[in-house]
């Protein structure tokens, strides 16, 4: 029991110490992104994944910290589970360790490492502007959803107006008994066929 208490004490001390170690640039990002608890925006979604043909969709989304996004829109919409703007909130609300990798004027490269097992992300590489706090590129390794690369474009707001997400996705397979007879090339399941998925998201912030 003593050992467990000691271990937990060391862990919590280490965790708080590591938080204190975060430099000013990361602290600024945490201030900008972790404190934004709710975002309302209109998103235009274009999905390009081999084996899927999905028309462009415009949806209105309410992101609230720790909750599943609330989506309003016409028809069926596929909303990415990871890589959207709520990802920033999720990243900077997690106890993390930040390592500076590169610096090029105002542009900084950092590697973030999650310090808790319960977070959905494990590590993240981000490139951001230290003055505007805008994150231009991120590569996030998640526990469940693989690696998601994102490139963000900005106008003035600290949240992007356009994001391009790329990720590896299992090739879509329909169980054989559901395959339509016009499927000329019956593609039998073959292990974990991975294809690259690309999603282009265009944001219009309602409470901007």
């Amino acid at each position: 029991m003593r050992k467990v208490i000691f271990f937990l004490l060391v862990l919590s001390v280490f965790q708080s110490y590591s938080q204190q170690l975060l430099d000013e640039n990361i602290q600024n990002l945490i201030e900008v992104y972790a404190e934004k608890k709710e975002i309302n925006c209109e998103i235009t979604i274009d999905i390009e994944i081999e084996g899927m043909q999905i028309p462009q969709k415009v949806i209105t989304v309410n992101f609230e910290e720790g909750k599943k996004p609330k989506v309003k829109g016409k028809g069926l919409a596929l909303v990415p589970k990871k890589g959207m703007i709520n990802q920033f909130n999720e990243l900077f609300n997690t106890p993390l360790q930040a390592i500076k990798m590169d610096e090029n004027g105002e542009e900084l490269d950092y590697k973030l490492v999650s310090l808790i097992n319960s977070s959905e992300w494990v590590t993240a590489d981000i490139r951001f502007n230290s003055i505007t706090n805008q994150i231009f590129e991120s590569t996030i390794n998640t526990r469940k959803h693989g690696t998601i690369k994102a490139k963000h474009s900005y106008k003035e707001y600290e949240y992007p107006i356009r994001s391009i997400l790329t990720f590896d996705v299992k090739k879509f397979k329909v169980p054989l008994r559901f395959i339509g007879r016009q499927n000329q090339n019956i593609d039998l399941p073959n292990g974990d066929d991975q294809v690259q998925g690309k999603i282009v998201l265009q944001y219009r912030y309602i409470d901007e």
């Binding site: 043909q53 999905i54 989506v71 596929l78 996705v169 329909v174 395959i179």
Partner: protein, 278 residues
């Protein structure tokens, strides 16, 4: 000619089997609606599980349009079966009931008699397809509402709600042409065998065998596909692709119209040469 068609229609709509086929269609559609009402969400979550790993699927997935699309899958076997039971009977009933001699002693020529039956067959197929369309669409939309339709052709395609109805009606028009062609084959066999049951069995046997051959696409049968009528009948699915391949559909329309014409000519020759005392 109009009088002859009217007589044929009276005979058709006084037959119990005509109403039975309509009744069975309604029951079929009801079963599809009930089945998807109870298990639809589970079924589609299973089908879309690989998508669910990466996306939240928002919106009304199991909707009336999706169910109507699924109901169209009865075009593979159920609808052709019900249709040929009636259409083969239009031609062979005269032999079975012994009224063929009476029919051929009328002032109308054999060609006119055959044409009247042929027109009656087309009208029945049109009526039947309208019943299929309305029974597939109206109850499901009333119960489940409308929405986008995920279609499993070459992967997955999401058909937008706004374009669904035009695709649905085009599918039914195409299928009507296909069912007329299939019924023409039944007509030819009905005149040949002079028996409804034999004609129905032969035509359905052909449909099953050709569909099986068509399914073996990765074997030697792939080059035969364009010659199989089952291949062309199945083209209704293409109306639910994101980009509808119209040239391919038109090819099938020409094939099916040609097939109807050939069946009609063969039946006409056989019927004209038929000895009245046979």
């Amino acid at each position: 000619m109009i009088r002859l068609v009217q007589i044929e229609l009276i005979k058709l709509f006084r037959s119990t089997r005509t109403y039975l086929t309509f009744g069975i269609t309604l029951v079929l559609m009801l079963i599809i609606d009930l089945g998807l009402y109870s298990d639809g969400d589970e079924l589609f979550n299973y089908l879309l599980q690989s998508i669910n790993d990466y996306f939240y699927l928002e919106g009304n997935l199991v909707n009336g349009y999706l169910i109507s699309y699924l109901a169209l899958n009865t075009l593979w076997v159920h609808i052709p079966t019900l249709i040929v039971i009636v259409t083969a009977h239009i031609f062979s009933s005269e032999f079975e009931q012994g009224t063929i001699r009476l029919l051929l002693t009328q002032s109308a020529s054999r060609g006119e008699c055959l044409m009247a039956k042929f027109i009656c067959m087309i009208l029945y197929v049109i009526c039947f397809m309208i019943v299929v369309a309305l029974s597939a669409l109206i109850p499901s939309v009333m119960i489940f509402g409308t929405g986008d339709v995920p279609v499993f052709i070459d992967g997955i395609q999401f058909i937008q709600e706004s374009s669904f109805l035009s695709r649905f009606w085009k599918t039914l028009m195409f299928s009507t042409i296909a069912m007329v062609a299939f019924s023409s084959l039944a007509m030819a066999f009905a005149i040949w065998f002079r028996n409804t049951l034999t004609a129905v069995l032969v035509v359905l046997g052909l449909l099953i065998v050709l569909t099986l051959l068509q399914t073996f696409v990765f074997g030697i049968f792939s080059s035969w596909q364009p010659f199989l009528f089952s291949y062309h009948i199945a083209k209704w699915q293409l109306f639910f692709m994101s980009d509808i391949p119209m040239p391919s559909i038109w090819n099938s329309v020409y094939y099916l119209i040609g097939m109807t014409f050939i069946c009609y000519v063969v039946t006409y020759i056989k019927f004209n040469k038929m000895n009245i005392s046979e």
